[in-house]
Symmetry: C2
Subunit: 216 residues, 2 copies
Amino acid sequence: MQAGKPILYSYFRSSCSWRVRIALALKGIDYETVPINLIKDGGQQFSKDFQALNPMKQVPALKIDGITIHQSLAIIEYLEETRPTPRLLPQDPKKRASVRMISDLIAGGIQPLQNLSVLKQVEEKFQLTWAQNAIISGFNALEQILQSTAGTYCVGDEVTMADLCLVPQVANAERFKVDCTPYPTISSINKRLLVLEAFQVTHPCRQPDTPTELRA
Amino acid sequence: MQAGKPILYSYFRSSCSWRVRIALALKGIDYETVPINLIKDGGQQFSKDFQALNPMKQVPALKIDGITIHQSLAIIEYLEETRPTPRLLPQDPKKRASVRMISDLIAGGIQPLQNLSVLKQVEEKFQLTWAQNAIISGFNALEQILQSTAGTYCVGDEVTMADLCLVPQVANAERFKVDCTPYPTISSINKRLLVLEAFQVTHPCRQPDTPTELRA
């Protein structure tokens, strides 16, 4: 292991960055934040320096143990393998499969379709509907899946990687004015998670790069 | 473990199904294929029966050990944990991180943007450009990443989950007429993988549901 604190390249509002912030908080890993503003200067993720770090030009990226990892779930799986306590994946392989299935559904099946770079390619007047459709179609499936996997949280009664994906995605749903009343399971799990400290301190309204008017 | 062969719900042309077919072939797991035609009858994935199996209305889904898993990477991780030989993830956590980063880049950053259900939402005359843009922007990043991770294959000299994502994505690139000459690393890894038996027998041109005119 290399000396020095891990560095998280993050944007306060990025749901993928938030997933990783929660993992770092739950595992009690001290880190520095380098904010990458996805809007300012035409998007700081397009700078030469950042592209050298992540050719996908996306946050988050985590410098840790002498390597740089991007893709939020790959980062979380690495943290889980190298800092296993508290665990974010259950011990039982079938339950681990449920956690990964839900995580991939959100991280691969919903978020990529409503992220900034994709919405920019859609005509402005259709952007909101586009984002809402992606979220609604994913949440219809997710609500049904959670009805068979959930306990207190997404899979059973322990906080897992799936929960780290759920809360930021529900926040996106609210930003895009999706009516969440058809999703009572999603909504109640989200509510139970939001009161936990690791979800609170990592919230977009409490980051070093949160603009003053959005702070809480 | 429950008796009976695993059942893979698959579509010959689906790149996500192909990933799983390669994993099953490499690990020597005998399975039955239930073809789900994504085009016929307005899309068999929308049938009531299939929706009960996968509320996301997507292939692949795998019935195995008494559970049904969807999301291709979640399926592959489950196979890896329950049938570890030959391994599809390296032992070193840093290399595992590279494998998952590349897999997520393809499975979350490229494929979802060019899949059928998304293209249907784009005006027909823009569909090809939309798909090409998604692939080109992902491949630009991937080519750069592979230059530092690749040996014979995507990460080092062993076939990993990343390779299971690469080959089907290159096939999609070809279908969408993306010029792959700017991607010499991607192209040469793809060529080395395509000659392996597990990639050959699982190829879209050799599936139970491959239409006669596309067979090879």
